[in-house]
Structure formats: C-alpha cells, structure tokens
C-alpha cells in the first residue's frame, strides 16, 4: 500500500476507474501514512478521516454502479486551511478563526469534489497566509521532508500543502499565492505548483490576504497533475466577479510533449544574475535541456521589475490591513507577533500610495505582455536560495549574507503584480539534497503552454519523481 501514496493523481484515477484499487484503499493508505508521519511533519491542522472514508465508500459505490466518473475520482486531495469547508474548521492558520466552521464550501472545493476528488484534510499554513517562510506559532511549523535532521522551512504561505504533497500525505493539494505562496513551497519542497492567471480560478470561499493579488492554484508532483486539478477548478464563477468568462481549455490534452519551436525568454537581470550558484546553474541547465527538445532561447530583461517590490508592498499592505482592521483593533494579541506587525504596516500606507502601487502594476503588466509578444514563455529561478533552517534570518548567497524573507519573494511577487500564469517546476537539487525550482511564466490565460513546457521537461528529467529521505 505504500506505493499508492506515490502514484500520480492521474494514475490513481485510472487505477480506481479500472478497479485495480478501490477509493477506500487509496484513502486509507494516505490516512495511515498521515498517522505515521504527520506528528513530526505537521502538515495537517485538521484531518478529515471520517468524512474522507465516507466519501471513499461512496466513490467506490459509484465505480461499482458503472457511473460516469470525474477526472479525479477517488483521488485524495489536501486543502490549504484558508479554503472554506462546510462543517469543517477553517482556521486560516490562526487562533482567531480556530473554531470557525463555514456553512458552505469554497467554489474550488465544490468543483474538486464534483470532479471526484476526496478531501483528506485542512493543511497548515503561515498564519492568514502572510508569510513566505511558512511558519506557524499556533499549530507548529511544518517540517520540510527533504531534511530529516534539521528543521527547515517548507516555504509559505502554503507550507502544509508543500510538506504534505512532498511526503506522500496527499496526492495533490490546493495552495494560494499572493506573493509566491504556491511557488515558494513548491520550489523548497520539490513540487510542481501553478499560480494561474489572475481570474482563471475562483477565489470565492478562500480567506483573502489581498483581494487583487490572491491567486488560487494546485500543488502537485507533476505538471500533468496540475493540469488535471486546474481543469477541474478553472472557469467563471458568479460568486467571484474577478473570474474570467474565457472558456477553459482542455489542459490535459495540451500536454503533447512537444516544445519544438517554442521561444523561451531567459530572465537574466534581476533574476538569474542574483541567484545562488546552485539555482543559477540548475536553471541554465534546464534551459539547455529545453533547447535540446527544440525550443529556442534568448535573454530578456524586464526593466520595470525594479518597481515590483514597492508596488506589491503598497497593494498587499493596504488590502490586508483593510481586511484585518476590525480584528487588529479588538483581538490583536491573538495574532502571532510577526503577522500582527506585518498587518499593522498597512495603517501607514495612504490611499494615494495604494493607488500608485496599482498604477505601477499597469506598467509592470504591460511590459511583461509586450515581452511575451516576442517570446512564448519566460524562465527564471523560483528562488535564489534553498530551504533554510527555521528561525534563520539571513542566508549566504554566493558569499554575501542576505535577509531571508525578501529573498524568498524577490522572484515570485512580480508575477502576482502582473497577474501572469507561472509554474514552479523542479529542476535540480543542491549538494545537500535540497530541491531547486524554476519558474515558467506564460501569457495571460495561456496556462496550457506553461504546463506543456513543464510536462515536456518532466518527460526527459526525473527531478520531480524523487522522494524525500523519510525512510518509509
């Protein structure tokens, strides 16, 4: 049964549909593994054991009745604990919502369940999604599965999602991304994670951090699985007015394995040139691999990137403060100190400054759009660093000490500002065995090309298939 927890989502769905395994066996294998490992890893805040088993039995009955099955039928999925789940605690990683039970599911939860997915539980996260390290003072900080000896960060804010998928504690997971919170843990935990175009996937029923920067997306062990999850979740939702009415392509069918003629823009200045040597070399080698598959490469510079941090800061500070202001006035001591401080900063950003941030966003978005008129995708490292020990405030990058937190968001937040789709794809490991990821950035609503490139790369490499040294 151990092998079941390492199967891809697509493979599990096929095994279930052909009755090679039952949904009950699949779910129980994952629940057993959670029981064995998660006391240390701390990826889950709430395990939905009873409801997952009940859903598995119902899924098995549907298979036996030869009903039409969804693309994720019987597949166990973890949900970052900011997605509302009806009748199940949704904490946002906080004490403030520690006992809150929503009365309806988030749209994406409903859509994943409609596709046959079985919700295993609610995953740990940086409190209220406001942190790229993935720390949590209330529920414990998840342990990065790639180092058994040192407690390293998983990255955030979707830290539990990163840990759970990497450790085989669910087949795929939902994350969310406001400044990098899908891509950072994906890179640090060796996963493939997708931040879709802003508006591709509904945010209805997801606790917000910053309404105009929040993105909903999958974290999986392959681009093919991301395609399956995205296909189930994407599309217009009247509950979220920011969602696009553009039709949803068949993302799985787009994975042809072909990248011949694809034009890649390699982001040098601001990105590659400031990354650590392992990250730089892994990304460059990945690009060479893609050239070997028939893609062409040229170096690209994005001049407006220098303003991305300030634009992001203006928007996220003001919007997060606006949402949290009532609690900051009445329940301030219930926040973790780091999150409380970060939220309070928004009180010192004016309306005019917030709008300046939104205006600079247009410059950044327009430049990325313009550049993607000349190339089909852009590639950059996801992070300049690998996973650092919990509590580390500085990290050495090529002999120079740099602060950890800004380093974690440097390459990711510009694409929350611009709204373009980005996948983080495993492309190597450090000499210490820590994962390295690269970003593949596409045109707006062209997740199909992003995933096609990532999948083609994964057909000729095995970084994404490696397992952390957990001993089981």
């Amino acid at each position: 049964m151990t092998d079941l927890v390492w199967k891809s989502m697509g493979e599990l769905a096929r095994l279930v549909a052909t009755k090679a395994v039952t949904p009950v066996e699949v779910v129980q294998a994952h629940l057993d593994r959670i029981g064995a490992l998660d006391g240390t890893i701390k990826s889950y805040i709430t395990v939905m054991g009873d409801s997952a088993r009940a859903a598995a039995r119902a899924a098995e009955a549907r298979v036996n009745a030869r009903e039409t099955l969804g693309p994720l039928h019987g597949v166990p999925i973890g949900l970052k604990d900011l997605y509302c789940t009806k009748g199940v605690k949704t904490t946002g990683g906080s004490r403030i919502l520690g006992n809150w039970m929503p009365t309806e599911d988030a749209t994406v939860v409903t859509r994943l369940a409609d596709a046959g997915g079985i919700m295993l539980g609610k995953l740990n996260m940086h409190e209220f999604a406001y942190g790229p390290e993935g720390l949590n003072a209330h529920y414990g900080t998840p342990w990065n599965p790639w180092d058994r000896n040192t407690h390293r960060i998983c990255g955030g804010s979707s830290s539990g999602s990163g840990a759970a998928v990497a450790a085989g504690l669910c087949a795929g997971a939902l994350g969310s991304d406001t400044g990098g919170s899908i891509r950072i843990p994906s890179s640090l935990c060796g996963l493939t994670g997708l931040k879709p175009t802003y508006g591709r996937v509904s945010r209805a029923g997801a606790l917000p951090l910053a309404w105009s920067l929040d993105h909903v997306g999958p974290m999986c062990r392959s681009a093919a699985d991301c395609a399956l999850m995205l296909g189930a979740m994407a599309g217009y939702d009247p509950r979220d007015p920011s969602t696009s009415v553009l039709p949803v392509p068949d993302y799985a069918a787009a994975l042809t394995g072909q990248v011949t003629g694809l034009r890649i823009g390699l982001l040098g200045r601001f990105f590659l040139e400031s990354a650590g040597a392992p990250q730089r070399q892994a990304t460059e080698q990945a690009v060479k691999t893609l050239e070997g598959l028939g893609a062409s490469v040229r170096e690209i510079t994005l001049e407006q990137m220098k303003h991305a941090a300030a634009a992001s800061a203006a928007v996220i500070s003001a919007e997060s403060y606006a949402y949290h202001e009532p609690w900051l006035r009445t329940r301030a001591t219930e926040y973790g100190p780091d999150v409380r401080e970060r939220l309070l900063v928004g009180a010192f950003v004016s309306g005019s400054e917030y709008l300046k941030g939104q205006r600079v966003r247009r410059l950044i978005r327009d430049e990325v759009d313009r550049v993607l008129g000349d190339v089909d995708v852009l590639i950059a490292p996801t992070l300049p660093i690998a996973a650092v020990p919990v509590g580390a405030r500085e990290v050495d990058i090529d002999g120079k000490p740099q602060p950890v937190r800004p380093s974690l968001v440097r390459y990711t937040r510009p694409f929350n500002v611009s709204g373009h789709p980005v996948a983080s794809v495993p492309c190597g490991f450090t000499v210490d065995g820590l994962p390295i990821g690269m970003q593949v950035i596409g045109r707006t609503f062209d997740e199909a090309t992003v995933l096609r490139l990532a999948d083609a790369y994964q057909r000729v490499t095995d970084w994404h298939t490696r397992r952390p040294p957990l001993g089981v």
Partner: protein, 65 residues
C-alpha cells in the same frame, strides 16, 4: 507653501503618535518590532512616488461587467 523637503527619519515616538492617530495604543516592544517594517515600507513608498505615471490608470478600476 515652501517646497517639500525629504521626510525626516521616522522615529519610535513619531510612530507612536501616528499609531495613536489611527487608534492603536502600542507598547514600546510593539513599536520596536514595527518601526523597521514601517521604515522599509515608507522607503518603498518614496520609490513609488518617483516613478513617472502620467496617463497611467490604476489596475483597480470599477468594471460594470
């Protein structure tokens, strides 16, 4: 009015007053934690102020459909 000069460096006491004006009575320890973050965001807001934005509309516009 005279030409505006660069803002003086933000001090803990100035931050205390600014926070009080927002209705937050912060302790010394809280101000110590908050001060570097607010200084950093103020530096970034000064960067934004220098970006030429004539005829650039915000992305936060009200859409009827």
């Amino acid at each position: 009015m005279s030409e505006p000069g660069p803002a003086p460096p933000l001090t803990k006491e100035t931050l205390r007053v600014l926070a009080q004006a927002q209705g937050f009575a912060l302790t010394d320890a809280e101000l110590d934690g908050l001060l570097p973050l607010v200084r950093a965001v103020r530096t970034m807001m000064d960067e934004l102020a220098a970006v030429p934005l004539e005829d650039v509309e915000p992305t936060a516009l009200y859409h009827m459909l």
